[in-house]
């Protein structure tokens, strides 16, 4: 029991994921600034932001909203992100959880943050939040099928295994999945799914600052907003980590392996940031079309190639 609590709360769960996620969020902001020829924020800025919201700022409840749901949904977002994080990071750090079939559970847990954002936005009673929530729902509908297809491709490549630990072991004993044509295609599709899951720029229409002023998060302030920031930090760490586990060989935590792990993580986040900085925000219709037609097509091609062992 004690070890499980330690896994959940400290390492590799809540605390570890939150700290690494906050640092990655700084990295994301810094790279964004460098791309725009600015200097960017100081290293500890995400921590300042978080603690300022948590401890100093006032929490305002919407007058006509469902207050209980409004306050509960950020907590559930953090819980979902942390839970998914534990399931992803345990196999990634070569600790077997002894749980076969965790890939399916991770898939469902990863949808919890997005769903709770929708519920929180709808319970706030703000019309702009409702617009944001409807966009987020459409976005979830469009990328979930694609993400499922990516996982199907991985499962086929890993000899029908749905155990994340085993998938990593298969890659470490052979070649990483990204070293094949189908692997490259799956990586490409997965990167765009992550972009949508994280709400980064080509797919940030739920929170579009310029048109619906932060959309789904518009009514949040103070501690609940700190919780939302925290869940975003955690997601920014665990989703690239998930890609690492699925396609890029996982990690070996000994000697030079640690450096490789960090480099792979940073490379994936860098890719996400660069996509974010070089693209405009698409319309929701275009996003749905993008995922339903093109990304699904790529994923299916990758699955067919994987069946033929390419």
């Amino acid at each position: 029991m004690g070890t499980y609590l330690f896994y959940f709360l400290v390492y590799p769960g809540f605390l570890f994921a939150a700290v690494i996620g906050a640092l990655l969020s700084w990295f994301d902001r810094k790279i964004t600034a460098r791309v725009q020829f600015r200097k960017g924020p100081p290293l500890l800025q995400p921590f300042y932001d978080f603690f300022k919201l948590l401890l100093v700022k006032e929490t305002i409840l919407p007058a006509r909203g469902a207050k209980g749901v409004f306050l509960a949904s950020p907590v559930f977002a953090v819980f979902g992100a942390t839970m998914a994080g534990v399931f992803i990071l345990l196999p990634l750090l070569n600790i077997t959880s002894g749980f076969h079939g965790d890939l399916i559970v991770i898939f469902y847990l990863l949808t919890i943050p997005s769903l709770t954002y929708v519920i929180g936005a709808l319970s706030s009673g703000n019309p702009l939040a409702a617009v944001g929530a409807s966009r987020e729902m459409k976005l979830i509908l469009s990328y979930e099928l694609t993400f499922l297809l990516v996982m199907a491709g991985i499962i086929i490549k890993a000899d029908q295994s749905i155990d994340l630990y085993q998938i990593i072991q298969i890659q470490q004993n052979g070649t990483p999945f990204i070293g094949s044509i189908s692997g490259v295609l799956l990586f490409l599709v997965a990167i765009f799914c992550l972009q949508a899951k994280l709400g980064l720029v080509p797919f940030d229409m739920p929170e579009a600052e310029t048109e619906i002023s932060d959309g789904i998060f518009i009514e949040y302030s103070g501690t609940p907003y700190a919780m939302i920031k925290l869940s975003k930090y955690i997601l920014l760490f665990i989703l690239p980590a998930f890609i690492m586990a699925l396609l890029m060989n996982g990690t070996k935590l000994e000697g030079i392996g640690i450096l490789w792990a960090v480099l792979k993580l940073v490379a994936v986040v860098l890719l996400l940031t660069l996509i974010r900085n070089t693209n405009p925000r698409v319309k929701i219709k275009q996003a749905i079309r993008f995922f339903f037609v093109w990304m699904n097509l790529l994923a299916i091609i990758a699955i067919v190639l994987a069946i033929f062992g390419l």
Binding site: E58, I212, F217, Y220, Y225
Partner: protein, 124 residues
Amino acid sequence: MFHFGGASCNNCDIEILACLTPRYDVERFGMLLVGSIRHADVLLVNGSINKKDKPRLLEIYEQAPKPVLVVAIGACGCTGGIFAEGNTFAGPVDKIIPVDAYIPGCPPKPEAILAGIVKLLGKN
């Protein structure tokens, strides 16, 4: 920080926007322009506040989670400037809401705006 433009001649708005650009880059101090007043710590008010603006400014100020810092930018925001004796003028910003920093100038330079905001950072 959140930007509330009163009945401005648009000149201060442009200078505020200049603070976000690569040359001045207010994110060096960890500040970002946010879309919703609920996420703001600093409320920038510029332009002369006329009778139509006054209730809106009050509404925005009440919606902001406290503690929030208010910065009056430009001659119009600080004192009313050339509009101070106008018919529709509803008073400089500090007659309506408490102001933490005044940045005078018509328009103030981006350096001046940055200097004012950084002084506020140092105070807290």
